[in-house]
Symmetry: C2
Subunit: 170 residues, 2 copies
């Protein structure tokens, strides 16, 4: 079973956290919620509450098997934190699975890890993804090496299918 | 006196609309609120309500003297609308003043008008601005040709000073 880091802050897209998190737990995977301040409560756009387990300063890629970044406006908040950006960059470079949906690629852009990668995301950030040197694909799920991405809540079933498969065969 | 188009949708940063709008009105300028749907009410993060005057499909650059784009998450919503992007591109290319604060440059990125320009904006979108080919300057106000930009609510006094001056001498 895998230990999955979940990067969240306020205004995350509730279902983009709840549904994958629930599917991962149902398969016996463990979730550790990482954010700016340990013990703080962050809330989704629709008020889903998530308690931050370790803060980002105490989090190391070695302690996890995979990374999930839900969308909404949480990535916009998280990407201004240098430790979040460093952690995400190290995660992508480690080769361990990184699951990004909706606005999540914003953090990957700030971490400068998208050059030459195939990825998808919410259409509002399409030009940002292209400008970061990535190839934007308008499809339900894009899998390129260790990065699996989807566009929006409607893609969640396919996103879950692909990410669970990746956890089985990382 | 100038007729100023204000591009807004939900989740705009309230003070980034209220304070410049109030300053413009106090100087006798007219504001026309442009959005996706005429007559609809959009609300800021702190619930400030704004009624959309003409919708974007009926709006032409010729009808205005300047453009104000408040920040918050409104630009992320607006930039997925092709008419918004076209209107903004035409505005920048017209040479008429464009006032952008906080997340507003996101629309300029999608409109592909930032290459070679000097601009500032909220720090979360710094890398997006750089990747768009612009020079990001970390200062209260950046004026480059017809584009005047600021970073966040703390810059509003300087933003207002610079934009009012620009309206006097466009």
């Amino acid at each position: 079973m895998s230990v999955i880091a979940v990067l969240v802050d306020n205004l995350f897209e509730d279902v983009e956290y709840i549904k994958p998190a629930s599917a991962f737990k149902n398969k016996g995977h463990e979730l550790i919620h990482i954010g700016i301040n340990k013990g703080s409560v962050v809330k989704g756009k629709k008020d889903t509450a998530v308690i931050i387990d370790p803060d980002i300063e105490k989090s190391h890629v070695d302690d996890f098997d995979a990374l999930l970044i839900p969308g909404g406006y949480s990535p916009d908040i998280l990407r201004i934190n240098e430790n979040v950006v460093k952690f995400t960059r190290e995660f992508v470079e480690s080769g361990k699975p990184v699951f990004a949906i909706c606005h999540a690629p914003q953090i990957l852009i700030t971490a400068k890890v998208l050059k030459g990668r195939k990825i998808t995301g919410w259409k509002s950030i399409k030009q940002d993804i292209i400008n970061a040197g990535a190839q934007y694909l308008d499809q339900e799920v894009v899998e390129d090496g260790n990065i699996i991405s989807s566009r929006y809540p409607g893609d969640i079933p396919e996103f879950i299918k692909a990410t669970l498969e990746k956890l089985k065969n990382p």
